[in-house]
């Protein structure tokens, strides 16, 4: 009988073997928690962050590059700090900062290094490094910082900062991790994918004490970090900085476009700030200060600020009028039968003279003819049809729509059409007499400085434009993005531009902008005065030069600076001269513009100015035709 016990024994052996096999199968095949990436503690994934792409100006001068900086890391368990005070002195921090940083690091992990001080400059690093030998548990990690060769272009370039929580959550493919940097505005944001490059991943082996033991699998799975693409702009850094200096103590914009390509030459958003302050370890402090500034330096005015175009809009009216055949180059209008006032100027018997003297009644009549061009006898219906036709013609100049510049948050502006007025007045309840302020660029029209610079470019090109853009080349200076090679037509024939350009030359030579003419350069320009609800008007000027072979088209907006000829025109013409000749002949004018302070005249929101109580309650212009534009009884 005892022999049969061998079966019990063999059964027991086999049972243990089977249990072990099942357990092994579970551990090795079924249980994912021990798979290589998730749990293997000997293989560490090291992320290599590549340098961001650099940005160059139109002559190949560096605008943005990267400076290597050093992050100081601490491993709390290894940290031996005997003389805390001396360490604080060396690092330039307070004792309580030290304690809180140390506590934060310990809270994260006592055995893994965590960030202690961020972005130490090379100089700081050099001075600290020697001392840090005495303190164990601290190590340096290389990192990089955006650096700007000149304190300019802040809003155009944008800034880079740590990714926010909501950005982290919203990303479609999980690329970024916490504490990664990401372009937050401007070029840095739009070209983030090109600039950031390709992150490298290295799998390295480490032993039980975390000591590096070489690449894993001889680096087969590693991917190399690829530096970001360099970007090439059409910016002229010298002119840009010159324009910046002219816009000191002013609120407004300067936008200059190369009409032949659509490249942005200069883009000033005033007031501005030094972009380097947002690329330092004091980012949050500096950013908060900028955000609190009442003049909104973070607001990218060239593409985001909205103004009424004022008289500069008359150029488009004249062009459309000529194209539609409602006027000829020789058409003349007098001040008679016009509800709008005008200044004292010689008779405007031609389109060129109308433009030169910026005659309000002239363009009132042009607009009136445009609206009533059709044969409909009912003035209400005729106005509706006429406005839509006009709207379509104006749209081709890029008004009332986004131009598609490579900058974030471009403002669309406003170009009213039939539907727009129907909402306020009801269908066929309005006619020309309700909307005639559009004729001189007031009323419900809203444009951005960029759009007006583009209008200048269209006129310079006699009929077409290329989408304005800051960056044309990605990785290669010669390369141009195909969408920027598409010619957009304005729908106005080239010969119709001649009288308008003639008028613009006249405006600079002897008209509204005569005080800022430049010796030796034929500039075609047009002033504009955009009315503000409170305070002084804003000064506008658009121009291009030289007339024979236009190389620069420019729009200058100076808020609360009065008439177009007073501030915008001189600044524009100085910038044009600087760009074309690299020198300034009219030093007195330049000096005056440097010194001019229009910032103090700016009426900030909420700021009380002596204005009649009833008008302060009025809503801003886009919502409702404001009091000053409300039509007075007029006979059409």
């Amino acid at each position: 009988m005892l022999e049969n016990r061998r079966f019990v024994i063999i059964g027991f052996f086999s049972l243990v073997g089977l249990i072990y096999l099942l357990r092994l199968f579970y551990l090795q095949v079924l249980d994912e928690s021990y798979s290589i990436e998730s749990s293997s503690n000997s293989i560490k994934r090291v992320i290599e962050i590549p340098f961001r792409g650099q940005i160059y100006d139109r002559y190949g001068k560096l605008i943005v590059y990267n400076t290597p900086v050093y992050d100081l890391l601490v491993t709390p368990n290894k940290a031996r700090v005997e003389d805390t005070l001396r360490l604080c002195q060396v690092l330039g921090i307070e004792r309580r900062d030290f304690d809180s940083l140390m506590a934060a690091a310990s809270a994260y992990s006592r055995n893994k290094p965590s960030l202690f001080l961020r972005q130490l400059s090379k100089e700081d690093f050099a001075s600290i490094q020697d001392v840090m030998v005495d303190y164990s548990g601290f190590e340096f990690a290389k990192s990089s910082l955006r650096t700007y060769t000149a304190p300019t272009l802040a809003n155009t370039l944008g800034y880079v900062s740590e990714i926010t929580r909501s950005q982290l959550e919203k990303q479609e493919e999980p690329y970024y991790r916490q504490s990664d940097y990401i372009g937050q505005s401007g070029i840095e944001k739009i070209y983030e994918n090109e600039l950031r490059g390709k992150r490298g991943t290295k799998f390295v082996m480490q032993n039980v004490s975390g000591v590096y033991k070489g690449p894993w699998k001889n680096g087969e799975l590693d991917t190399m970090a690829v530096a970001g693409e360099n970007l090439y702009t059409g910016i002229d850094l010298e002119v840009q900085q010159y324009a910046d200096s002219l816009m000191v103590n002013k609120v407004g914009s300067v936008v200059a476009i190369d009409p032949k390509t659509g490249q942005i030459i200069t883009m000033v958003s005033a007031p501005t700030y030094d972009p380097n302050i947002l690329a330092s370890r004091y980012f949050s402090k500096n950013f908060a200060a900028l955000a609190r500034n009442p003049y909104k330096p973070l607001f990218n005015r060239p593409v985001m600020a909205s103004y009424r175009p004022g008289s500069t809009f008359k150029l488009i009216q004249a062009l459309i009028g000529l194209q539609e055949g409602v006027i000829t180059p020789g058409s003349g209008f007098t001040h008679a039968n016009c509800p709008m006032g005008c200044h004292n100027h010689p008779a405007t018997g031609t389109v060129a003279l109308g433009v030169m003297h910026s005659c309000n009644p002239y363009f009132y009549n042009v607009f009136r003819r445009l609206i009533y061009k059709n044969n409909i006898s009912n003035t209400f219906r005729a106005s509706a049809v006429g406005l839509d036709a006009w709207h379509d013609a104006i749209s081709k100049f890029g008004i009332g729509q986004r131009l598609g510049i490579d900058l974030p948050s471009e403002y669309k502006g406003n170009l009213p059409d039939k539907k727009y007025y129907d909402r306020f007045y009801g269908e066929y309840r309005w006619k020309f007499s309700n909307i005639y302020s559009l004729s001189i660029g007031e009323g419900e029209l809203l444009i951005t400085p960029l759009k007006m610079a583009n209008v200048a470019a269209i006129i310079a090109n006699r009929g077409y434009f290329y989408t304005p853009h800051v960056i044309h080349g990605i990785g290669d200076k010669k390369f141009v993005k195909p969408e920027y090679l598409v010619r957009h037509d304005s729908g106005v024939d080239p010969h119709n531009f001649d009288p308008v350009i003639e008028g613009m030359i006249g405006a600079v030579e002897g008209g509204t902008a005569r005080r800022s003419r430049v010796e030796g350069i034929t500039i075609a320009g047009k002033t504009g005065t955009s009315q503000n609800k409170r305070g002084d008007d804003s000064s506008i000027f658009i121009a291009f030069a030289p007339v024979d072979d236009p190389k620069i088209a420019i729009a200058v907006f100076v808020e609360y600076a009065g008439a177009g000829g007073s501030a915008a025109a001189p600044i524009a013409n100085l910038v044009i001269e600087k760009y074309l000749t690299r020198k300034i002949t009219n030093k007195a004018l330049e000096e005056r513009m440097f010194k001019a302070d229009f910032m103090s005249k700016v009426v900030l929101p909420g700021q009380k100015k002596p204005v009649p109580a009833d008008t302060t309650k009025k809503k801003p212009a886009p919502e409702k035709p404001s009091a000053q534009n409300k039509p007075v009884a007029v006979n059409p």
Binding site: S14, L24, L27
Partner: protein, 427 residues
């Protein structure tokens, strides 16, 4: 005449082949475990454990030849003398031994160390076999026949305990298998298992619940037994057994706190919950499981293991050699090793059963039991099913003493088995 047939004809080649397979797989994995990508040394380099193991394998081969050449009757005749020699060595080591890893159990000879405790298994096996070869001894009827066996086991066990080698001492538990086969009543190993089960359950659950559960089960037994078996006498037995079990449940605390040493207590607690002390005692278990688990189905490949290579798993080439197999060769590798062991042990049982002499059969069971116990505990601890007890995996783990002792143990049995046609049955 069969006597003239060479030993090679009669030896059980299946066991020999498995033995060789284990040695080779073990040797390759020892090389992988000590392999350092920065300082590459050859498998044959005597400066690393793989090279040394190869030397141990070579010397083991010489030993095996000696064993096969020596007359098979020698082992039975000299059983008690071998036993006595080992006991003397065990005593000697207490005074002259060198201290390695906290246990004074090694005798240093030049660059190499020998561990007499490893050879105590062989000595006890031979002694028990010799004692049981007396046909008058019956384990199923006479209690006094157990005393000499207890003595044979207790003496070396005590000496080993003195030298702080608890693991080697626990191996003597494997003789329960032999005793069971030779007539020990089945309830004795059953009680042992129930005690172990109660110990673990007690540590996992609230004691009063367990006591309540035992009473409920006892009640069911008392109520159902007359119906099922038509017997009546079980009432008092059931009550006594239940009370004893409840007593054990409440005695566990005493056992844990007063009988076990602190590190032993820790090892049992870690078995139940490895995360209770991840940086301390739990470390070995967690790291070992990560290493094996990260191998996946086919493993990371020869020399590609990282957990074992970079010292995450302690004692990689000795007690935790199974981790290297698991990490580099995956489930395929571990399954092959488990399969080899189950085959070897089962084959040994089959061989033992065909012996004509009781000495040979008992000895065969001893060999099977010892190898099985090592396998069960060693592999079990690496996969978290057994407490961490430092005993080697036979034929795999690095170490001359264990390789020699297992080889001698095994080949003495193969020699006896090969001579089976000429042995007279006495049992």
């Amino acid at each position: 005449m069969p006597e003239n047939k060479p030993i090679t004809k009669n030896v059980d080649w299946m066991v020999v082949l498995i033995y060789i397979a284990c040695l080779l797989i073990g040797w390759v994995n020892i090389y992988a475990a000590v392999y350092n990508p920065e300082v590459r040394t050859s498998m044959f380099d005597l400066s690393n454990n793989a090279g040394k193991q190869l030397m141990w394998i070579g010397t083991a081969a010489l030993l095996i030849i000696c064993i096969l050449v020596i007359d098979y009757k020698f082992y039975e005749t000299f059983s008690f003398i071998i036993y006595a020699v080992v006991i003397v060595l065990l005593i000697l080591v207490l005074f002259a031994g060198s201290n390695i890893n906290g246990s004074r159990s090694w005798i240093k000879i030049g660059a190499f160390s020998l561990q007499p405790a490893e050879f105590s298994k062989l000595a006890v096996s031979l002694a028990i076999s010799k004692y049981l070869s007396d046909p008058a001894i019956s384990l199923s009827r006479k209690l006094k026949d157990y005393y000499p066996i207890m003595g044979i086991i207790a003496l070396p066990a005590f000496l080993i305990l003195l030298s702080n080698e608890t693991g080697s001492m626990l191996v003597f538990a494997s003789f329960a298998i032999v005793l069971y086969r030779e007539g020990m009543p089945g309830f004795i190993p059953a009680i042992g298992m129930v005690m172990a089960a109660l110990l673990i359950i007690t540590l996992l659950f609230v004691k009063w619940y367990i006591a309540a559960a035992i009473i409920v089960i006892a009640g069911l037994v008392i109520w159902l037994m007359p119906v099922m078996t038509r017997r009546r006498g079980g009432l008092w037995a059931t009550i006594v057994i239940s009370l004893v079990m409840i007593g054990i449940v409440f005695g566990v605390d005493f056992f844990m706190n007063n009988v076990l040493q602190k590190h032993q207590r820790g090892r049992i607690m870690v078995l139940l919950d490895p995360d209770s002390d991840p940086r301390g005692i739990g470390w070995n278990v967690i790291q070992s499981k990560i290493a094996i688990g990260s191998g996946g189905f086919t493993g990371k490949g020869f020399l590609q293991g990282t957990q074992t290579k970079f010292d995450f798993v302690p004692e990689q080439s000795t007690d935790f050699i199974f981790c290297t197999v698991g990490e580099e060769h995956g489930f395929v590798g571990t399954a092959v090793v488990v399969f080899l062991f189950v085959c070897l042990i089962s084959r040994l049982v089959v061989l033992a059963e065909r012996q004509r002499s009781r000495f040979a059969r008992v000895y065969g069971y001893c060999v099977a039991g010892i190898i099985f116990f090592h396998f069960m505990v060693n592999v079990g601890m690496t996969i978290g099913l057994m407490p961490v007890i430092g005993i080697p995996l036979p034929f795999f783990s690095y170490g001359g003493s264990s390789l020699w002792s297992f080889s001698i143990l095994l080949f003495i049995f193969l020699k006896i088995d090969a001579q089976r046609p000429f042995t007279l049955s006495r049992g």
